[in-house]
């Protein structure tokens, strides 16, 4: 299946791309997607400890199962306002 990874702020800088499509085996979890992203962008590791992950605009635990077409957001600590 294909999943879209969306990188924001420092994660975007470290991945050097705002978004990309990753291919994952059926039944893969958010954590599997993160591991795939880290293989492509090892520098991302620096922000993963403090980042949250979303699936289709909801923050989710890393164990969440993914489905084809899902969008996964890499969300470093936020500072709006």
């Amino acid at each position: 299946m294909k999943v879209r990874a969306l990188y924001f702020a420092s994660a975007r800088d470290l991945a050097a791309t705002p978004a990309e499509t990753l291919s994952l085996p059926e039944g893969a979890s958010v954590e599997d997607l993160v591991q795939a992203a880290l293989k492509l962008h090892p520098k991302l590791k620096a922000v993963m400890g403090s980042s949250k992950l979303s699936v289709n605009v909801e923050v989710v635990p890393a164990g969440t199962r993914l489905r084809d077409g899902d969008k996964v957001g890499f969300l470093p600590p936020v500072a709006g306002g």
Partner: protein, 143 residues
């Protein structure tokens, strides 16, 4: 207000935000404006650049508005957050709340902006006068 945009690159007009919460049963209206300061933690700042996960931010803002209306007897609430490059003095965020009495207008507006700050997928990079820039250290997004 079906076309109302809560996340925008356009300059925020406070008069328009206020107009969107006018209500004949409101006795008190509180407006909060966040503006770009010329310094942060003692360091001179030239401006800010906001990045946003727009789809998620819009959804969260609708949720926050609903939460505020459930908690306080507010008449109307309106919020808008700007993104992209902002200069000193530019308005980054506006939250307006109208209510029958001022106590609830103040409390609801304060709650709304505090929640916006904690739970919106927004990031800002400071452009220092020294030429460098850095993402402002924040807190993990509230899930």
């Amino acid at each position: 207000m079906a076309t109302k945009s809560r996340i925008t690159t356009a300059p925020i007009d406070p008069a328009r935000v206020l107009a969107s919460v006018t209500d004949p049963a409101a006795g008190g209206t509180v407006l909060f404006l966040g503006t770009v300061r010329n310094s942060n933690e003692g360091r001179p700042v030239r401006g800010l650049e906001y990045q946003v996960y727009r789809e998620m931010a819009e959804k969260r803002m609708v949720q926050i508005e609903g939460e505020v209306k459930a908690k306080w007897p507010v008449r109307k609430i309106s919020m808008v957050h700007r993104y992209g490059k902002l200069g000193i003095g530019d308005i980054s965020v506006a939250v307006a709340v109208s209510a029958p009495h001022r106590a609830e207008a103040f409390e609801a507006c304060r709650y709304a902006i505090d929640t916006v700050k904690r739970s919106l997928p927004l990031w800002k990079k400071e452009a220092y006068v020294s030429g460098k820039g850095a993402w402002v250290k924040g807190d993990p997004i509230r899930g």
